[in-house]
């Protein structure tokens, strides 16, 4: 067992884990933060995207012990005092989700895009989402939601 400590959604956590524990397993099974999902085993689907020190990362591609000391934000940590993050609100307003399974990863990924590129074009959004699969929406309303959230976040 290895001891690992990090800050998750503003709270310091320390747990003993098997060294082979993936970060996503740590979040889901050790911290019960089940909003971060696992949709594949080859790091393609992006359902597990979280923020590590502010950057979007697929939490299935790293071990929990590699996140030692990191600042982590998951989908559960986005809304503040019950108020949705503009990206969350935009996904709802523009029907950017259906079954909801890819949604947490999509939202976390999209926030990082807008941080890097406050006015992404449709093409830039579609290229950025290369690592996030959705089977329900055909991406149409996800693109609209991200454009709307970007506008909202600029203002």
């Amino acid at each position: 067992m290895a001891s690992v400590s990090m800050t998750v959604n503003g709270q310091a956590v320390t747990r003993d884990v098997e060294p082979r524990t993936l970060l996503v397993e740590f979040l889901r099974q050790h911290l019960d933060l089940t909003g971060t999902h696992v949709g594949c085993d080859t790091s393609q689907c992006g359902a597990c995207v979280i923020h590590i020190n502010g950057d979007s990362v697929k939490s299935c591609t790293m071990l929990a012990v590699q996140a030692e000391g990191a600042q982590i934000t998951t989908i559960e940590g986005l809304a503040k005092n019950g108020e949705l993050h503009p990206m969350q609100a935009a996904f709802r307003e523009h029907h950017g989700l259906q079954c909801g399974f890819c949604t947490p990863g999509m939202i976390m990924s999209a926030i990082d895009l807008v941080k890097r590129n406050p006015s992404p074009s449709e093409t830039e959004i579609r290229e950025w989402l290369e690592g996030n699969l959705c089977r329900c929406t055909g991406y149409h309303n996800i693109v609209k939601a991200i454009q709307a959230a970007a506008a909202d976040m600029r203002s």
Partner: protein
Amino acid sequence: MATDGIGASVRRKEDRRFITGRGRYTDDIDRPGQAYAYFIRSPHAHARIVGIDKSQAEAAPGVLAVLDGDDVKAAGWGGLICGWMVKSRDGSDMKAGPHPLLAQGKVRYVGDHVACVVAASYNEARDAAELVEVDYEELPACASTAHARDRGQAQVHDDIPGNTVYEWELGDLAAVDQAIARAAHVTRIDLVNNRLVPNAIEPRAAIGEYDPGNEAFTLYTTSQNPHVARLVISAFIGVAPEHKLHVIAPDVGGGFGSKIFIYAEECVCLLAARKVGLPVKWTAERSESFLSDAHGRDHVTHAELALDADGNFTALKVHTTANMGAYLSTFASCVPTYLYGTLLAGQYKTPAIYCAVDAVYTNTTPVDAYRGAGRPEATYLLETIVETAARETGRDPAELRRKNFIPADAFPYQTPVALMYDTGNYQASLDEALRLADYKSFAQRRAASEATGKLRGVGFSCYIEACGIAPSAVVGSLGCGVGLWESAKVRFSHTGTVQVLTGTHTHGQGHETTFAQLIAEKLGVPIDKVEVIHGDTEKTPVGMGTYGSRSIAVGGQAIVNACDKIIEKGKKIAAHLLEASEGDIEFKDGSFAVTGTDRAKSIGEVVFAAYVPHNYPAGLEPGMEETAFYDPANFTYPAGCYICEVEVEPDTGIVEIDRFVAVDDFGKVINPMIVEGQVHGGLAQGIGQALTEGCVYDDNGQLLSASYMDYGMPKAGDVPSFQVALTETPCTHNTLGVKGCGEAGAIGAPPAVMNAITDAIGVRIDMPATPEKVWRALQDRPMARAAE
């Protein structure tokens, strides 16, 4: 009128939990003391199992049990079933090979379930699985749809000769042959409908639980139809009587058909739970999903379309070989027959149609319904042959279709392939699509593309589907083992809030919102006071689940019928409270009023009186809760016209969709925002089939496309933004006038894309039109475009 009722694009009630990470999918649930299952799957497409040595695994750390076929046999549990009997043209029953929960002596596809390790942790189960030694004697495999019936092919099931499940037919062969002999022109095509993997982003999962005190099981599972799962697992697998089996399908992350079916893993989790005395959880890895979720499509077809000198279709003759995989999945047999052959009239008045379908076993993953199920295959065939005929006879593809449409005044229309279309207006959707796609300026756009060295093409697809599945007596007469009605219970509380309990299941379709809108419309209760409950056999009335675009047309109508009963009872109570006669009470906008007066009681007051019946009609039951079961009189027939325009880069073969217009007639629409979203998703799956997706098996039956690195899931950059619009001919046999919208996009899109590519490059290729395939086709015909 209610502002959140029918026709309003209200935002979804269910979204809050999903966008905040509070959804509750099966893998999010942990039961106290739970153990974990890991399945050992066949690495061979076809092999005899000489022996299984479990001893090392059983001794490994954390291992609680290792189950194999002998354990299933010892429990007396049966195998998986196919619930739809299809008969061959000679009247004989289809040949259903046994489908054991864990292999009995033989494996028949790569991924076949052989054994199951149960351990205290997932890692321990997975580690121990490496220690289970299965001794296989490899056998030759049959992996080809087209050649499955050839002499000398490996036999998937020893006692089913020629790998033939059935030889089914529909229609008048003699009339069709006569018409073809007399035709001015006959268009002949051979095509392949590529095999797909449904790929819901949530992998399948299950938790089995056993309560020895009550001899009762609980199953959490990723199901589109928990009551059907309960029925099959109880009555056919023999796990426990139905009242001793509680099935819960919580939030489900997409289904697209693949989660209709009853699978081995969920049953084995129940057996394991009883054996080890703990809840047992299994969650598929994506690689397992590729191997073990039922696949879709996989047809090889030859077809002939006869035309007279004026371009009228006089006959259609179709011969299809449909791959069922190694075993018959739950509804596999009906997909290439009653959901395929019956759709071959399409939107056209073709007078004579004949369809023969040979269903075959191969050493591949079972194939069953995938979004559209049979109807995409029918549409792809029909819309490809119609467009080919237009090209061959020098006619405009839109006008050839228009000429052959069933006229808007000809409904109800009896097709020559069993279905009776109740309503439609195909000219209207074609005209609207032509307008939105700016078809009249296509020639200029093509010239502009050619000026930049690119090839532009336009393609059409005028689809029809039969959904709202289904009238029970009709499907019963065709071999279906169940009724396909739907149920609903509408329950008020003292304080006027409403619970709607539905037998359908929502896994992305937005029922929690759409069904609440029905309550708002019918009963005048705002949607924030309505909760829709589904997915739990101990909460909802027995229901048949969600598939075949049935939830609104069958399940929604059941809700409306329950509302009608509420109103009927409410009138009695209101008449008593208002000292009026029941016949004088009118219900509108949530208020029971005496006709022609301002005397009224709100539905809240009436409901309160029903629960606090201090001043109440004599002899009337208290309470306000009504149940309705609705069995539709006919299928519904959504239809539409899709137009796709592509630009092909000849140096690379890359196809770019420049525009995609979808005009659909879904009848009345409850929530246009949700309906458009359903269309978008279906279109992306249809475009995926056309451009990127396809299973590849090698000759030995190894699935080469078994991960997201190898299978072309459409990404955001692979699909365009869509232009969608609606036309409306209300369904005539439900009071809502609704038809259903879940599958249309996946049904209509593939031929529109492929016809556009054919138009651009001058040669027809099979799906998926990958850059390599398009490029090779262009190399074979380098001068084709220049010569025109």
